[in-house]
């Protein structure tokens, strides 16, 4: 489902170019509007669609699972902290609107402040572990976690 840009809406601001994880949203050198340089490489993450301040980017579904005539559009309102989706089926009758919170706290206020954390010691720098690694993978609570240490046994087949 590659993205495409409505040229009459785009003002070439570059938010989509900045955010695209595949670096395939570019600014056209002649028209100075955004476009997807490599639709085959687009993995439909919708980042650019949500980032676009002009709602100028849409996603074109592949015909096998999203037949022509459908529409899936999204509006991310960051100031309100919500995301709204609208899904219209091909028959034109089923038209769903969804609204959900994306954050309950102001943007940028609760990012971990690494400068407040004590700098790593010489021993930590020389170790093979990454900064803060033991804390997050809990290696400090003993050895590596294994099936055995957790009282589990390997079973054959697929199970949950």
């Amino acid at each position: 489902m590659p993205t495409f840009v409505y040229m009459t809406r785009c003002d070439g601001c570059g938010h989509c170019v900045d955010i695209c994880p595949s670096d395939i949203m570019h600014i056209d050198k002649v028209t100075r509007r955004a476009y997807n340089i490599e639709p085959n490489m687009c993995w439909e993450c919708y980042s650019c669609v949500k980032a676009c301040p002009h709602d100028a980017i849409d996603v074109r579904g592949y015909a096998d699972f999203a037949p022509l005539g459908h529409s899936v559009r999204v509006r991310r309102d960051e100031e309100k902290g919500v995301i709204a989706w609208r899904i219209k089926f091909r028959n034109g009758e089923k038209d769903m609107e969804l609204l959900a919170p994306i954050t309950t706290k102001p943007w940028g206020k609760h990012i971990p402040q690494l400068s407040d954390v004590p700098a790593p010691s010489k021993a930590m720098r020389d170790s093979q572990l990454l900064f803060n690694e033991p804390k997050y993978i809990r290696m400090d609570e003993g050895d590596l976690h294994t099936l055995e240490s957790n009282g589990l046994v390997m079973k054959e087949g697929v199970y949950y």
Partner: protein
């Protein structure tokens, strides 16, 4: 110097009728270029098709009065104040360039048609406005050229690297305004003056003659696009976009119970999000 009409002084060398014919020719070139551009890009066809699609999805029909109000709002925001730009620097630069261009072109036409010779002296305000228009055009245009062009601002392209058709319009504008100013300011300096005038005419011809290839025609279709954007919001078709909800509305909260659960009954403003930082990492 900036208070005198440069075209009247030029009339000693070039007959005013030739200058008037040139202005008419440039006007015709713009009209022809715009029509060809519209036919080639099928932009008018696209707008009408888009409008028809929007009407099909509309939940209400707009009255003529409502449409006129939307047209007035479009003129007031998108046309007169370039309100469409999300980036404020680009907006200010565009305003300088746009008003500079309008003032410059209008005063040029008035000076050439109404006060062609030194016998009918133009009111001082007109040549002053002519110079001011050219200076504004230079200010907005060079700011764009050196700092704001995406290739320069974000892709490491040097300011002196031309980008063919992409730069045709801005080069036409800058060349015209720069050489107009230089020509007017060096009037009476002898040999230097005429080549500057030739460059002024050459860049003007490039600007008005290249409408088909450049982005000159954006001044005609951009307002149409902005108007359509307002219409689809007002008639409920919204190009299949979700509605813009008022989160404190009890009806919205009853329909989407997650909102009061996680954001409270009076959801606060969460701040700018991604817009806290201008896009500049590409």
């Amino acid at each position: 110097m900036i208070a005198s009409n440069p075209f009247a002084e030029l009339a000693v060398v070039i007959p005013p009728t030739a200058m008037q014919a040139y202005v008419v020719l440039m006007f015709l070139l713009v009209v022809a270029g715009t029509i060809l551009d519209m036919l080639h890009k099928k932009s008018a066809q696209y707008f009408f098709e888009n409008a028809r699609k929007a009407r099909k999805n509309a939940t209400r029909t707009l009255s003529t009065g409502e449409k006129s109000a939307l047209a007035l709002k479009t003129v007031a925001k998108e046309v007169l104040t370039s309100g469409e730009f999300a980036n404020q620097k680009r907006r200010v630069s565009h305003l300088f360039t746009m008003y500079g261009f309008i003032i410059f072109v209008l005063t040029t036409a008035i000076l050439i048609f109404a006060y062609p010779t030194l016998e009918d002296p133009a009111p001082t305000i007109l040549p002053l406005l002519w110079h001011l228009g050219a200076a504004m055009l230079c200010l907005g245009g060079y700011w764009f050229w050196f700092r704001l062009r995406v290739d320069v601002a974000s892709e490491g392209v040097k300011w002196y690297q031309l980008n063919g058709r992409g730069d045709l319009f801005i080069i036409g504008l800058l060349g015209m305004a720069t050489f107009a100013l230089l020509w007017s300011l060096t009037m009476g300096f002898g040999a230097l003056n005429m080549p500057l005038f030739v460059l002024f005419v050459a860049f003007s011809t490039l600007l008005f003659g290249s409408v088909y290839w450049s982005k000159f025609a954006h001044m005609f279709f951009k307002p149409a696009a902005a108007f359509q954007k307002r219409v689809i919001k007002a008639d409920g078709s919204r190009e299949n976009m979700p509605a813009i909800y008022d989160l404190s509305d009890p009806e919205v909260q009853a329909r989407f119970p997650d909102i009061p659960t996680y954001l409270g009954v009076k959801p606060p403003n969460m701040g700018l999000g991604i817009k806290r930082e201008a896009p500049k990492h590409f």
